[in-house]
């Protein structure tokens, strides 16, 4: 099959193909190739086989970062998405003002992580943060606890900052919920099913595909998590909130490019493997109808 406009077609595709090659395909190859090298940016790369990976997986800070990424992925996938799904199910019954709520819940998604992080730094601030001021209303002495500075609360604090921003997944699930034919619910109602039964036996099974998609997405986001933690704690204290992205950035700043690429490659492989595994696992597990 030969298209007589082939010349024009190539011309129209060229800019996108060139940029995509330069910023997606080449970098992917680059990351995997340089992850097997020692390279400081200038001069030649030295091929060192798996040394970077061996070093990484025996580095407690990297293992901690990887663990934190997994925690992020699990919390986003199995706490944030269910919360978003619950909210979508509520709003789909169109309570008063549901459109307003939908719009407001999504609002944080258009605000930069920088601004959000600044707000939450003010909330968590030890000396005159809002959270401590609130607690101080109920205590005799001024309560001054550094939520982001303590080893045992920092990770929870940075996760909570993101956890309740359910808007993104909520609008996606809500759109899918609205697509379920109303006749299903009418039929169930005629059969005497109450609202709870309708939600459990119609809504959730019908939403399964979108739930698989959103859980997968959420877990992928957990693996790539970087900005809000970098902005609030920089990975501290004592790497308690570190994630792979932050470690990658610090290696880059130290000009350990080979090591940085090894982290990037690990991030890509783990993220991809996780997506494949979760999709396989969730799709196999049948929900009873």
């Amino acid at each position: 099959m030969k298209n007589k406009n082939m010349g024009k077609i190539i011309m129209f595709l060229l800019p996108v193909v060139v940029l995509y090659g330069l910023f997606f395909i080449y970098p992917l190859g680059f990351v995997f190739v340089t992850s097997f090298t020692k390279w400081h940016g200038l001069g030649d790369m030295e091929f060192i086989a798996f040394s970077n990976f061996i070093k990484l997986f025996s580095d407690p800070v990297f293992l901690l970062s990887l663990r934190n990424n997994l925690i992020w992925a699990l919390v986003l996938g199995f706490v944030q998405v269910p919360l978003a799904c619950g909210m979508a199910m509520l709003l789909s019954r169109r309570p008063k003002g549901w459109k307003f709520f939908r719009t407001v819940y999504f609002l944080p998604n258009v605000i930069s992580q920088v601004a959000l992080a600044m707000m939450w730094l003010a909330i968590y601030n030890a000396d005159h943060g809002i959270l401590n001021s609130l607690i101080s209303l109920f205590t005799e002495e001024q309560f001054t606890f550094s939520w982001l500075g303590a080893n045992n609360t920092a990770l929870q604090a940075v996760i909570i900052q993101q956890l309740f921003y359910i808007g993104y997944f909520m609008v996606v699930i809500l759109a899918s919920r609205v697509g379920i034919p109303a006749s299903y619910y009418e039929a169930a109602e005629l059969d005497g099913a109450n609202i709870w039964q309708q939600e459990v036996f119609i809504t959730i099974p019908m939403l399964k595909p979108i739930l698989v998609t959103t859980i997968t997405l959420a877990m992928a986001y957990g693996m790539r998590h970087f900005e809000s933690t970098y902005l609030m704690t920089g990975g501290g204290p004592n790497h308690a909130t570190s994630v792979m992205g932050i470690l990658l950035y610090t290696k880059l700043e130290a000009r350990k490019y080979g090591m940085g690429s090894a982290i990037g490659a690990t991030l890509i492989v783990f993220g991809g493997a996780m997506i494949a595994f979760i999709r396989h696992f969730l799709n196999r597990k049948q929900l009873d109808l």
Binding site: S112, V114, G272
Partner: protein
């Protein structure tokens, strides 16, 4: 008895429902409301009365924010980067989407699928090659470096949205135009591109918001004020405003305004774009 029991459960469920709704409403809006109110306070009020309204609304904080931090320059940089990226991205993405949705040729589907698969790649993992590419192209620490990077990063989502929209356009119009002697390029510029306007608005809005809010690569690919964008600038406010915290908050409010304004006017477009992106992906 039984009837009473059911109504009790109903009431509890209803209360629970509204607690759930209001809780999330407060979690999403209170920090923003607090930020805006506090940005009008004095520093003394900020430190001593975190929950009060300002006695006198200090509009001067906003004046100070502009004076102290070079906010205007940062703002202009962000506008340039976001607008140029959006325009370039929309033009090249719609050119590709036009060909991919309209023309039959070998490799059509493969190219489309490869382009769309880009959304699966964690861009954050590509810091090392992006830095190398931008340095090697000689556009490190320049607005152009950011523009070309953001334009490329947003290709998959834009092509996806615009391609989906173009596919839904009827082909008859074009066929009639070809009969009247319309060339290949004119089919794009005179017919398909104008008709795709709603899809372009959705994609463009998402790209604009992405650019305005992007932080990581703005940090990685620049190293001086000459190419610094607003989000990065805010990071430096912390050291600039050590004594004048409320002015820093005012600067942050200013940085949020453009996307919030865009959102107020185009939230339906944004939500529909997000939705069809995820539902089909």
């Amino acid at each position: 008895m039984i009837k009473n029991k059911i109504t009790m459960i109903d009431i509890i469920a209803k209360i629970g429902k509204w607690i759930f709704i209001i809780f999330f409403l407060l979690m999403t809006t209170l920090p923003i409301v607090w930020l805006i109110i506090t940005s009008f306070k004095t520093n003394f009020e900020y430190e001593t009365m975190p929950f009060s309204f300002p006695k006198v609304w200090q509009f001067i904080n906003y004046k100070k924010a502009f004076k102290m931090s070079g906010l205007l320059q940062l703002f202009i940089h962000s506008v340039i980067v976001a607008l140029c990226t959006t325009i370039i991205n929309l033009i090249i993405s719609s050119m590709a989407a036009f060909v991919l949705s309209r023309e039959k040729f070998k490799g059509n589907e493969i190219i489309l699928n490869i382009l769309l698969a880009g959304v699966l790649i964690p861009i954050i993992a590509l810091m090392v090659p992006y830095l190398k590419i931008i340095v090697n192209l000689g556009i490190y620490n320049s607005l152009f470096g950011l523009i070309i990077t953001y334009t490329s990063i947003n290709i998959p989502i834009s092509v996806f949205l615009i391609h989906g929209f173009m596919k839904s356009l009827p082909k008859e119009l074009e066929e009639a135009a070809v009969m009247d002697g319309c060339t290949f390029t004119q089919r794009f510029t005179k017919i398909v591109f104008p008709l795709t306007k709603p899809g372009l608005v959705t994609a463009g809005t998402l790209v604009f918001i992405y650019c305005w809010n992007e932080f990581t690569y703005a940090m990685l690919l620049t190293n001086s004020a000459s190419a610094r964008t607003l989000q990065l600038g805010i990071q430096f406010f912390k050291s600039q405003f050590v004594v004048d915290y409320v002015s820093m908050l005012a600067a942050i409010v200013i940085s949020m305004l453009p996307t919030i304004i865009v959102y107020i006017f185009l939230h339906d477009k944004i939500i529909s774009g997000i939705t069809c992106g995820a539902v089909k992906g």
